[in-house]
């Protein structure tokens, strides 16, 4: 029985990712001992939370069977509008609220177009990628505006000894949504919807509502994470979050989220996001040309998916052979 539990643990994709994470961390540490000293951890974990939050939103949406390619653009649009609204005299907290609502609205529009017209979310959100980026540039109005210091950015990014406040925000998001996805009935509906939409709806689940919820959540989280980045940099940049959509899908996939829906965990998505950031840092610290980061990330994606596919095939086969006995 114990043996069986260990086996079923090992076939969990996020566990494989975690092992990969540990191996890579040790590898970079051996290449350069300063890789794991407090200074480097402070630097890497200062920027990671923003990516974790986006990856969590993407992971949940992918588990429900859909994609969002617009997260990178929303990541820029939301904080840009917040900043511009504050410059127009909107009270800071109200500007934050309205900004986050833009993320919600983009998520809703993504969901509406995808579900109402029955087109792939890949396409609907690809369109939104361009639209939201374009709106960000328009909202920038020429050159990036200064950061208004009446915005309560310390609350989100204050630098403690080792970590920033943003890490605790990210952990809070991970915890709350982890409970939602893994322990609540809504989570069960999300997995069912992504696993087999027809079967789920034949069991009475309103699959369109479930997907819509995930689209909105994803848009909201992308905007929230973008806000944190702008608050950290104290500079709203229209180029913020460029290519982030692909990187968040990469994080989710490395963390064991299936491209076909129905499989994945919050933990996996977080590990995926953290792994990518440490990979980037490790490559720089090992004095390898930074251009190798993308090659490393690319290899990691392929290895992770090949490995997970192999493992889950094996697990299925073992199970079926056992059942036949």
């Amino acid at each position: 029985m114990k043996n069986l539990n260990l086996k079923s643990l090992l076939v969990r994709p996020e566990v494989a990712t975690f092992i990969m994470f540990v191996v890579i961390m040790i590898g970079f540490y051996l290449a350069n001992e300063r890789f794991l000293d407090a200074r480097n951890i402070r630097i890497v974990m200062g920027i990671t939370p923003e990516y974790m939050i986006v990856a969590i939103g993407i992971a949940i949406l992918m588990i429900s069977g859909e994609f969002d390619l617009s997260v990178g653009s929303v990541f820029a649009l939301v904080p840009m509008t917040m900043v511009q609204m504050v410059h127009q005299g909107v009270p800071p907290w109200f500007a934050i609220f309205l900004g986050l609502m833009i993320g919600v609205i983009v998520g809703f529009v993504n969901g509406f177009i995808t579900l109402r017209f029955g087109i792939p979310s890949f396409i609907a959100t690809l369109g939104m990628l361009y639209i939201a980026r374009s709106l960000t540039t328009v909202a920038t109005a020429g050159f990036p505006p200064p950061f208004p210091h009446i915005l309560p950015n310390e609350l989100f990014v204050y630098q403690f000894e080792l970590f920033r406040a943003s890490l605790y925000w990210a952990l809070l998001v991970a915890f709350v949504l982890g409970i939602m996805l893994h322990r609540s009935n809504v989570g069960n509906w999300i997995y069912a919807t992504g696993g087999d939409t027809n079967a789920a709806s034949s069991m009475g689940i309103k699959t369109n509502n479930v997907k819509m919820f995930c689209f909105i959540l994803c848009g909201f989280l992308a905007g929230f994470a973008g806000m944190i980045q702008t608050f950290r940099l104290e500079a709203p940049l229209p180029s913020q979050g460029y290519l982030l959509e692909l990187e968040s899908i990469a994080a989710a996939v490395i963390g064991g989220v299936s491209l076909f829906g129905g499989i994945g965990t919050i933990f996996g998505a977080c590990i995926g996001a953290i792994l990518i950031r440490f990979l980037e840092s490790g490559i720089i610290m090992a004095r390898i040309d930074a251009e190798w980061f993308r090659a490393g990330l690319g290899s990691l994606i392929i290895i992770a998916v090949v490995f997970n596919t192999y493992i889950s095939r094996r697990a299925t086969r073992i199970g079926q052979n056992k059942a036949k006995d």
């Binding site: 009475g204 129905g262 199970g319």
Partner: protein
């Protein structure tokens, strides 16, 4: 015996295809009804209407004597009509326990329709539900894709039993199953009768349903061409109807 379901003059069109033509049917309580017919005869169409997945273009359905109009499968399920679809009844990647409770999770700390699942209770009840249909599996946490085809049908039947269905509709439950697995499913279905469940068993393999059916209904080209008690017919007669329409 009283009729649990009565259909009157059901018609259904699919963009030009007249899939169901003035179909009337009575189903007796606690019986096993075999619904047979060649590919495209309209069997799935009929049961989709009975299960609330589709709505008829005309005609009426009575359930336990009351006229009903199902707008969704949920409405039919709430009355106790549970359907096992031809292709999709379970989510392969999800565990047995989670599959049994999809859409009907046992929850606590509820806020409106949402709440945290009582995982332990669901696992225990899932195991009990499986044992009730004589299905003995190792763990309620096994993903369904690790089960054999017959076991999967068993899980679906256990689910229907657990939620006290009155009518269980099975669309080709023995498709792609080995002889041994088929017999397992037939035994599940036979067991339903004594537990007060009416079942409608759809197949185009007469030899599967004949041994366990009380009543047989043959469809062809959207019409009912025969409808009789098993005692009033023979397997040869039914085969002839199936082949020659």
């Amino acid at each position: 015996m009283e009729d649990i379901i009565v259909c009157k003059d059901l018609n259904k069109y699919y963009s030009g295809v007249h899939a169901l033509k003035d179909l009337s049917l009575k189903i007796k309580k606690d019986s096993v009804v075999g619904l047979i017919g060649d590919n495209g005869a309209g069997k799935s169409t009929l049961i989709k209407i009975l299960s609330g997945a589709h709505q008829p273009d005309s005609g009426h359905i009575y359930f336990e004597g009351n006229k009903v109009k199902f707008k969704s499968t949920k409405e039919a399920m709430n009355l106790g009509i549970e359907t096992i679809y031809q292709y999709s009844a379970l989510i392969p990647e999800m565990s047995i326990a989670r599959n049994i409770f999809i859409g009907r999770e046992q929850t606590q700390y509820n806020v409106g329709n949402f709440g945290l699942m009582k995982t332990k209770t669901m696992q225990d009840d899932a195991m009990k539900a499986l044992t009730d249909v004589e299905l003995h599996l190792r763990s309620p946490d096994t993903p369904v894709n690790q089960l054999s085809g017959g076991e999967r049908q068993g899980v679906v039947i256990a689910r229907a039993m657990y939620f006290k269905s009155k009518v269980l509709i099975l669309d080709e439950p023995t498709n792609h199953l080995s002889v041994k697995e088929t017999n397992k499913v037939l035994r599940f279905v036979e067991g339903l009768k004594s537990q007060g469940v009416t079942s409608i068993f759809i197949t185009h393999n007469l030899s599967h349903v004949y041994p366990i059916a009380d009543h047989l209904c043959v469809m062809a080209r959207g019409e009912k061409i025969a409808d009789m008690e098993k005692k009033d017919t023979t397997i040869d007669h039914l085969t002839d109807l199936l082949v020659n329409g």
